[in-house]
């Protein structure tokens, strides 16, 4: 699975020679030099012993059988058994140790890659899809793993076996050795050709199966629509076509796959035939012993495995190269923002923020912010409004140092933020994103995310301040409810509130809040507004605002257009100007503002009543029957 979803077309940021890739991969193995040595020794023992065994057999057959010396025969027999046992343990040893060292190397590589990804700056994540990054961490490293854990050493060993056997057989009989070796190239070439053919056929099957899978995925996600329009029959017919195509491509591929092993074995049989024929004649002539004949038959079968393994190694190496190129490309990409040498930790701050003549562009030549200056007093709440692309997100991205300014300065309490470490800067800043991202785990773990050692009381207090305590307690397991992957088991409003509580508990002096653009239902909106007020209180806050209530509550509204501040002031003042804000309000803010109750925030008649009674009784005609208070 998954391999057909490769990102092979992705542009290559770094180009490496195969040699460099191999050297770097092996570099990871060479961290475990001791293990490498042990594996090498065990492999040599293994090969030596495996080659020695047929000699023992030959000796028994040619010498002991003929002499009839039972003592010597017993010795040969026990020696053979001893060699077998040694082979077992040496095979076990190098199998285990090479897996150990390979997997450790892969562990290190994965960890290195992950840790490197953590220091990459935000521009990298904006450019690269998360799917492809994840594929680097999983699929690509798995391919490298196939090479490093076993594959590489095992294949080297196979080469060694081929050469060793090839050399040793000549000590027994020159002519038969030549006969034996004629089969090797036939075997190697035909195996290779078969693999090439089969690869083509299998590539087609991957295409057909991926259309089948894509259709299935879409059908499952779109099940409701299909049912609404009762289009089940037609969908079945469409699927049948794709299914049929997959059937056909697999049957085609099966022809190659089915022929491969029988053909290889037949070539082996050809070797046996030659040995039997020519060897047989030599036995009749008396120039070859029966033991030597048997010896060559055994060597013929020993040749098989290495050659098949070596030809399949080609694929392993190719895919490991492709995978490692992508992995190393990430490791070699330096983050565009790094701490300056001698950067200090940001001291405790009051929360005064100043942008001074800032210029910034994501892509050279298309400036996003131009000569941008803005001063925010400690404790002030400003709302950034403007069209998409006006530069709102950029303003806060620069404060977080997800990006650095091209020119100009961003100051916190008079300190240029480039002079401090990013860690200390971000620790003083809180960020609440519009699509509130939660980690799998419980609600309480998520709230503690910014301050892992906060006490239970502190957590509960934070949720209470946000106004989410009762809501969380009403969840299945209260604070210990599992939120699921990315918080999927909570509703959007619940996720938002948990992320507010998380930010509140972290208690940053400066808070950046990217408000959701999508509208949520009125009651959730209501609760969220309350939580947001609590969260912003007493902090310097910069809100990328979309909701009227948020905008109206801000101390100051900053209207951005094409990277410049065009208007600032409060709602009333700006409306009166009938400028940019007025048109934004009419076109965007007002349509979204409907049904937001922002007065009487402390009262929650609906939730209150609902929680207390489990619902309000309704009379027959549907109006509220009793008048409760």
């Amino acid at each position: 699975m998954g391999s057909h979803m490769d990102f092979d077309e992705e542009e290559r940021t770094h180009v490496y020679s195969d040699w460099t890739l191999l050297r770097r991969m092996v570099g990871y193995l060479l961290r475990y030099r001791g293990l490498v040595a042990v594996v090498a020794v065990l492999i040599i023992v293994d090969i030596a012993v495996s080659i020695a065994a047929p000699f023992v057999l030959r000796h028994a057959l040619d010498v002991d059988f003929v002499s009839g010396d039972l003592q010597a025969l017993l010795f040969s027999s026990l020696l053979y058994i001893a060699l077998v046992v040694v082979t077992w343990f040496s095979t076990y040893g190098h199998g285990y140790y090479s897996a150990l060292m390979g997997q450790r190397a892969v562990f290190r590589l994965r960890q290195d890659l992950f840790e490197h990804l953590q220091i990459m700056s935000q521009d990298y994540y904006d450019k690269t899809s998360s799917g492809s990054i994840i594929s680097r961490l999983t699929n690509d490293i798995d391919r490298i793993s196939e090479l490093l854990s076993g594959g590489l050493f095992n294949t080297l060993a196979q080469f060694f076996i081929v050469f060793a056997v090839g050399a040793v057989v000549f000590t027994v009989d020159f002519q038969l050795s030549l006969v034996l070796l004629t089969v090797v190239p036939i075997l190697a070439v035909s195996t290779h050709v078969f693999r090439m053919k089969a690869r083509e056929a299998y590539r087609r099957t991957r295409r057909t199966i991926s259309s089948v899978t894509a259709n299935l995925a879409e059908s499952i996600s779109g099940a409701k629509v299909t049912k609404t329009f009762t289009r089940e029959r037609e969908s079945v017919i469409k699927f049948a076509e794709l299914n049929q195509a997959d059937f056909q491509s697999n049957v085609d591929a099966a022809k190659f796959a089915s022929a491969f092993f029988p053909a290889i074995r037949f070539i082996g049989g050809l070797g046996v035939f030659l040995i039997l024929w020519i060897g047989g004649i030599r036995v009749v002539e008396g120039t070859l012993s029966v033991g030597s004949l048997l010896f060559f038959l055994q060597m013929n079968s020993i040749f098989f495995r290495p050659i098949i393994i070596i030809t399949s190694f080609y694929n392993t190496v190719q895919s490991a190269f492709a995978g490692s190129e992508r992995v190393f490309a990430i490791l070699d990409t330096t983050p565009s923002i790094e701490d300056q040498p001698g950067a200090i930790d940001l001291p405790p701050i009051r929360g005064h923020v100043k942008y001074s003549n800032v210029n910034f562009s994501y892509v050279e030549g298309t400036p996003v912010l131009q000569d941008f200056s803005l001063e925010i007093e400690a404790g002030e709440t400003v709302a950034l409004v403007g069209d998409t692309g006006a530069g709102k997100t950029t303003v806060v991205n620069l404060l977080n140092r997800f990006y650095d300014v091209d020119s100009g300065r961003v100051l916190i309490d008079g300190i240029d933020i480039r002079d401090v470490t990013r860690e200390s800067l971000r620790a003083s800043l809180g960020l609440v994103l519009q699509d509130s991202f939660l980690f799998s785990g419980t609600v309480i773990e998520n709230i503690r995310y910014g301050r892992p050692y906060a006490t239970d009381d502190e957590v509960v207090n934070a949720t209470e301040t946000i106004g989410a305590k009762r809501l969380i307690e009403s969840l299945e397991n209260g604070f210990d409810t599992e939120v699921g992957e990315r918080g999927s088991r909570l509703s959007e409003g619940e996720r938002q509130l948990v992320s507010f509580a998380r930010a509140l508990l972290a208690n940053p002096r400066i808070l950046v809040l990217d408000e959701a653009t999508s509208s949520i239902d009125i009651y959730t909106e209501h609760t969220i507004q309350r939580g947001m007020k609590a969260l912003l209180k007493g902090r310097t806050s910069i809100v990328i605002a979309h909701r009227l209530s948020t905008i109206v509550n801000a101390d100051r509204i900053i209207v951005l257009e094409d990277g410049r501040i065009v208007e600032t002031g409060r709602h009333g003042e700006l409306m009166a100007k009938r400028g940019k804000y007025y048109s934004l309000y009419e076109l965007q803010i007002k349509p979204r503002a409907i049904l937001v109750r922002e007065h009487e925030i402390s009262e929650e008649p609906l939730l209150e009543a609902a929680v207390a009674s489990g619902g309000v009784p309704v009379s027959e005609n549907g109006t509220v029957a009793d008048d409760r208070d």
Binding site: S130, A223, V236, D521, M575, Q588, I594, V616, G622
Partner: protein, 634 residues
């Protein structure tokens, strides 16, 4: 056990193929087992000083048998692949049809990814078994018996000694099934959780960086990474130890044969050829040992996969068409809910005692928070789910189902209903009869489901479009619709101009491989799709996402065009729509808390009135500031 025999039933539908590859496998095995006998003959001939031509003849005979073996082996492989592909084709078709027929509760209970895995990955595992499993087990057993038989033909005494190998083979098979493979399975599982953590971190990197929790996350990843490392190394260790076991056992047997066979040779009971034949036969025991072990592994995996896949076929739908559906030409569109309850399988009560009547052509606005039950109301009308059909009681704030005999078990005690009431711990509770949803005064459960759903249209806020052309998406309900019909639907949905502006117009592909439409554009395509379907009852989920004012107006206009003359349920925040609705229903925690027209609810002076006042005030503030703006903060 049962799962594989069920899979075998599918295989036996292709009896010709099945019998075909099994019999060629038999033939191939016989050829294969014949080769050592030829070997014996050749070696004995050579030591006896036979003529060269005889030797060549026998050697060619050997080659011929090897060739025939290869040929029959190829045939059995190919035919079994044919069978496997046929079965997979059948199975996929059946699965797909079954998925299409499933009710929505199935899709709620099972995540998309899981269903997908059951019909893709698990099916692939079953294919492996179909392709190899039968053959491998059959050939394994056949070879096992055959090899011993041939040994017996050569030398009975040595064969008896060789029986000592059998425990080794059995242990080999057993250890892999019970010890080695489970660790591999476990390591795959662990790998899954490692990937999940990695994925979460990559997707949430912004949060990680802004909370400066990188070190902690690295440790978390390292923990998962190390757990996986430990397991995979252990799996490799076990495999490295036990894989060569069979080779070792057979090697030891060969070593022993040197001594025992040598003795026999010295005594003149064994010829050179027979000894060589025996050596070759011993190494041939590798095959059944490995095949059988492999077969057992495939059996284990295929059985688990088959269980997961057949689950999809076996889940019983709760929503089913009636035996004798009502006949009707065209519904009028009156929708009535009479004391309707709804729950997911008796837990989680979503709707409680909901009653209302909507006349044909009326517009109903549904208001309420997430989870208040408004979506459930609209899902019950096309029978995506069914209303509760058991009697219920509400005890200590929780609702419970009664079984068909009127009994209920609570806290380990059983209670019996009598005359519509039930005593529980000195408390007399009234039993509520199940409610009903009607269309045109006929229970929705009496309509045939396809006809029912064809009469109801739905437009979602984030509509699902298929990877196909815009034309196909609009004509989804009526693939036979004419060009004019499609265009006029698109015009009414205010999307025609946009479609025309695209390079390929109506033939533009949308979805994964095609152009990406904005939320507002998708919504309007979906509206066109609904207009063309021309349903009598319409369900609109219109919690607008962020769209600009122009789009907003277009959607508004498109919706109005769509709603004309249809009974409409609309979930919306749009004030003008709510205000103009014939009925407003406000839901909270599964109950209707307010219901009536705009005027009635304003007069009632409760929640809706409150909401409306707030809103009006906001609008007024805006208007005021417009007029006096300069003075307010001046």
């Amino acid at each position: 056990m049962g799962h594989i025999s069920r899979l075998t039933k599918y295989a036996l539908k292709h009896r010709g193929h099945f019998v075909g590859f099994m019999s060629t496998a038999l033939v191939a095995t016989i050829f294969n087992l014949y080769t050592p006998l030829v070997l014996v003959e050749i070696v004995d001939l050579a030591t006896a000083g036979a003529a060269y031509s005889t030797l060549l003849l026998f050697a060619l005979f050997y080659l011929g048998i090897t060739g025939l073996y290869g040929l029959s082996d190829f045939i059995q492989r190919y035919v079994s692949a044919l069978m496997a592909q046929h079965v997979i084709y059948d199975l996929r078709t059946e699965l797909y049809e079954s998925l299409m027929m499933k009710d929505l509760a199935f899709y709620d209970d099972n995540e998309t990814g899981q269903i997908l895995a059951r019909v893709t990955t698990d099916v692939t595992t079953m294919r492996q078994f179909l392709l190899w499993g039968y053959r491998v087990i059959f050939i394994g057993v056949l070879n096992f018996i055959g090899t011993y038989y041939v040994m017996w033909l050569i030398n009975q005494q040595l064969t008896i000694y060789m029986l000592a190998v059998i425990p080794g083979i059995v242990i080999f098979i057993y250890v892999f099934a019970k010890k080695v493979r489970p660790v591999y399975f476990e390591s795959r599982r662990k790998y899954g959780s490692l990937s999940a953590v990695l994925q979460e971190n990559v997707v949430g990197m912004k949060v990680v960086q802004s909370y400066v929790s990188g070190d902690r996350e690295s440790k978390r990843v390292e923990r998962e990474n190390r757990d996986y490392l430990d397991l995979i190394v252990e799996a490799n260790r076990l495999s490295a130890f036990y894989s060569p076991l069979i080779t070792a056992v057979l090697g030891i047997a060969l070593g022993a044969i040197i001594y025992i066979g040598g003795w026999d040779f010295v005594l003149g009971n064994l010829s050179y050829g027979e000894f060589v034949g025996f050596v070759s036969l011993i190494s041939m025991l590798h095959l059944p040992a490995r095949f059988l072990s492999w077969g057992v592994g495939m059996y284990q995996r295929a059985s688990a996969a088959a269980e997961r896949t057949f689950y999809v076929l076996d889940v019983q739908d709760e929503v089913r068409s009636p035996e004798n559906p009502v006949q009707f030409d065209q519904i009028e569109g009156r929708v009535t809910f009479d004391r309707v309850d709804f729950s997911y399988r008796g837990e989680n009560w979503i709707l409680k005692d909901v009653s209302f009547t909507v006349e044909p052509g009326q517009v109903v606005a549904l208001l309420g928070s997430t989870g208040s039950g408004k979506t459930s109301i609209v899902n019950l009308i096309p029978r995506f789910y069914d209303v509760e059909n058991e009697r219920t009681i509400t005890y200590q704030g929780r609702t419970h189902r009664l079984d068909s005999r009127g009994k209920i078990r609570l806290n380990g005690n059983e209670y019996q209903e009598r005359h519509g009431t039930i005593w529980i711990d000195d408390e007399l509770l009234e039993v509520k009869d199940p409610g009903t949803a009607y269309i045109d005064n006929i229970d929705v459960r009496q309509y045939r489901i396809p006809e029912l759903r064809s009469s109801i249209g739905m437009v979602h806020q984030d509509p699902f479009l298929f990877s196909a052309s815009i034309r196909e998406n609009i004509a989804f309900a009526r693939p036979d619709a004419s060009e004019e019909e499609i265009v006029s639907a698109a015009k009414a949905a205010m999307i025609h101009d946009f479609i025309e502006s695209l390079d390929e117009g109506y033939d533009t592909e949308v979805g994964e491989r095609g152009v990406t439409l904005s939320g507002g554009q998708k919504q309007r395509v979906a509206i066109a799709r609904a207009i063309l379907a021309d349903p009598r009852i319409l369900i609109l989920d219109d919690s607008t996402s962020s769209v600009d004012a122009k789009t907003e107006m277009q959607i508004q206009q498109a919706l109005e065009n769509l709603m004309v003359g249809r009974t409409t349920f609309i979930i919306t925040h749009r004030l003008s729509t709510i205000r103009n609705a014939d009925m407003i229903i406000i839901m909270d925690r599964g109950r209707i808390i307010e219901m009536g027209t705009h005027d009635e609810l304003v007069k009632l002076g409760r929640i809706y009135a409150d909401l409306f006042a707030t809103l009006t005030k906001m609008e007024e503030i805006a208007d005021e500031t417009l007029e006096y703006g300069g003075l307010v903060h001046g």
